[in-house]
C-alpha cells in the first residue's frame, strides 16, 4: 500500500483556462494500474461530492489507444512501450508526487480535464489512409508475393494504435510518426503501392491543415510511442514524398 500526491490538470472545457489541483491518493495497492489508481481517487471525489477527474480510457489492455496522459513529463508515463492503462503502480514509490497533464498540441483541443479531441488524426486517415482500388476477393495464400522484410515492416507500422503520444511528446506538436506509420504500412504492400504517391501528398497536406507542426527530427516521438514505432518510418514517408514529387507532372 502506498500514498501518493497527485497534481492533476483540471479544465472545465476548451474555453476554461485550466489549472493544477492537488489530490492525495491514499492506500493505493501497487498491483493497480495507473487508471485503477485514478478510479480510486475518483470514487473518493464522488463521495465528497466533488467533480471526478475526466480521463479517456477504453480497452485497458494497451491496444485501443484511448488513454492519454502525460505523467511526470512523459506521455504514457515513465515505462517504455507502455500505455497508461498498462502502467502499474509498482513503478512508483510511496510518497511520490505525480504530475498528470493532458496531451498538449494545437491540433488536440482539450475537451475536459485530461481528455483531448484527437479526431484530427482520424481526418488525416480520411485524407488518404486507405486503399480504394479494387483488390478483388481474398487471394489464395502466396498468390500475391510479398518479401518477408516488407511484410514485417508493414506489420511494424500497423502496430500504431493512434493514441497521439507522438504528438504529445513532439516539441512541434507534429503528427509525423503517426502519419508515417499509416503511409508506410500501406506503401510497403502491393495493394497499397498503387495509390502511394497520392496518399503521401494528401495525408501530409491534411496533417498541416489540422494544425500539426513539421518534423524537426528530435526523435522524441519514438521514445514516447507505446508501440515502439520507429522514426525510420518518417524517413520512409519523406522518401515516398520525394518519389511522389519526381513522378508527378
Amino acid at each position: 500500500m502506498m500514498n501518493l500526491t497527485l497534481l492533476v490538470w483540471r479544465q472545465k472545457n476548451a474555453n476554461d483556462k485550466g489549472r493544477f489541483e492537488k489530490y492525495e491518493a491514499k492506500n493505493i495497492n501497487h498491483e493497480m494500474s495507473f487508471l485503477e489508481m485514478l478510479d480510486v481517487v475518483n470514487e473518493e471525489l464522488i463521495k465528497e461530492g466533488k467533480e471526478p477527474i475526466a480521463f479517456d480510457h477504453d480497452c485497458r489492455e494497451g491496444i485501443c489507444g484511448m488513454c492519454s496522459q502525460v505523467i511526470n513529463g512523459v506521455p504514457h508515463g515513465p515505462l517504455e512501450k507502455t500505455t497508461v492503462c498498462q502502467l502499474h503502480m509498482r513503478h512508483f514509490k510511496d510518497g511520490d508526487v505525480i504530475y498528470i497533464e493532458p496531451w498538449r498540441a494545437k491540433a488536440f483541443p482539450i475537451i475536459k480535464d485530461l481528455i483531448v479531441d484527437r479526431s484530427a488524426l482520424d481526418r488525416i486517415i480520411q485524407a488518404g489512409g486507405y486503399i480504394s482500388v479494387h483488390t478483388g476477393g481474398v487471394p489464395d495464400a502466396n498468390a500475391i508475393l510479398i518479401p518477408k522484410e516488407d511484410a514485417d515492416a508493414a506489420m511494424d507500422a500497423a502496430e500504431c494504435i493512434g493514441c497521439g503520444a507522438c504528438v504529445a511528446a513532439c516539441p512541434n506538436g507534429s503528427a509525423m510518426l503517426f502519419t508515417a506509420a499509416k503511409v508506410m504500412h500501406l506503401a510497403k504492400l502491393p495493394q497499397g503501392k498503387i495509390e502511394a504517391f497520392r496518399r503521401v501528398c494528401l495525408m501530409t497536406e491534411a496533417m498541416q491543415k489540422e494544425g500539426f507542426g513539421a518534423c524537426s527530427n528530435h526523435y522524441e516521438c519514438q521514445a514516447a510511442c507505446p508501440k515502439g514505432i520507429k522514426v525510420s518510418f518518417i524517413s520512409g514517408l519523406n522518401r515516398e514524398f520525394i518519389k511522389a514529387q519526381l513522378r508527378s507532372k
Binding site: 513529463g73 498538449r104 512541434n172 506538436g173 498541416q208 522524441e220 522514426v231 514524398f241
Partner: protein, 223 residues
C-alpha cells in the same frame, strides 16, 4: 504537386531545409580546405587568393549561389520555427526530453549565432571595416591575406567571437547533418544510430579544424 504546393507542404519545406543545408555544409568544407592553405605560409594562402581573384566570374557566380542558398535556408528556418511554435502553444508544467538534445532544441538560436558570426566574419576579413583597414600586397605583389589573418587573429574580441561562432556552428551541424539524411529519406533503421554518432564526430571535426587556425596563430607557430 505544383512548386507552390511543394513549398507550402510541411515535408516540402523540410526538404528545402535539408537541400540548402547540404549546400551550406559543402561550403563549410570547401572554405575549410581553402583556409588550410594558411599552413603553407604566405605562399599558400596568398597564392590561393590571387588565383581566386583571377577568376572573378566564377567567384561571383559562386557567391551569388551561396547567398541565395543561405537566404532560402534562413527564410524557411524561420518559417518552420514559427509554424512549429504555433502548433504547440501550451507548454507542459514538466517535460522530460527523452531523445531531443540541446542541439536539436536550439537550432534556431545556434543558427542565429552563426548568422551573426558570418556577418562579423564578412565585415572583418572580406570588407575589412572592423579592424583591418586595407589589404596590402606582399613582396610578390599578391594580396597579403596571410598577414591580414595573423593580425586579425591576435585581437582578443575577435578570437572570442570566433570561438562562440564556431561553437554554435558545431551544435548546428551536430543536429543538422544527421537530420538532412532523415529528411531526404535515405536513413534506414540500421544506419540510424551510426549516423547520429558520425554526425557528432563530424561536427566536432569542423569545430576543431576551424579552431586550429587561430590556435596555431595564438601559439605563435604561424606568425
Amino acid at each position: 504537386m505544383s512548386i507552390k504546393g511543394f513549398l507550402s507542404n510541411l515535408v516540402g519545406k523540410k526538404i528545402v531545409m535539408a537541400v540548402t543545408g547540404m549546400f551550406l555544409l559543402f561550403f563549410v568544407l570547401v572554405h575549410l580546405l581553402g583556409n588550410s592553405s594558411i599552413y603553407l605560409g604566405p605562399d599558400g594562402i596568398n597564392n590561393y587568393t590571387q588565383k581566386l581573384q583571377s577568376m572573378p566570374l566564377f567567384v561571383w557566380l559562386f557567391r551569388f549561389f551561396m547567398i541565395t542558398v543561405f537566404i532560402i535556408h534562413v527564410y524557411f528556418g524561420f518559417l518552420l520555427y514559427l509554424e512549429n511554435k504555433n502548433a504547440k502553444p501550451d507548454k507542459y508544467a514538466i517535460k522530460k526530453s527523452l531523445r531531443a538534445t540541446f542541439a536539436s532544441k536550439n537550432m534556431i538560436w545556434t543558427g542565429l549565432v552563426v548568422f551573426g558570426f558570418l556577418l562579423y566574419h564578412l565585415l572583418h576579413f572580406t570588407f575589412r571595416v572592423i579592424s583591418i583597414e586595407r589589404l596590402n600586397l606582399d613582396f610578390m605583389q599578391r594580396p597579403d591575406v596571410y598577414s591580414m589573418v595573423i593580425q586579425g587573429m591576435t585581437e582578443v574580441p575577435s578570437i572570442v567571437l570566433y570561438f562562440f561562432g564556431l561553437l554554435a556552428l558545431m551544435f548546428h551541424i551536430f543536429h543538422g547533418f544527421q537530420s538532412l539524411f532523415q529528411t531526404l529519406g535515405v536513413l534506414s533503421e540500421k544506419m540510424h544510430p551510426g549516423l547520429i554518432n558520425f554526425s557528432k564526430l563530424f561536427a566536432f571535426f569542423v569545430f576543431l579544424s576551424y579552431s586550429l587556425i587561430p590556435a596555431v596563430i595564438i601559439a605563435g607557430i604561424l606568425r
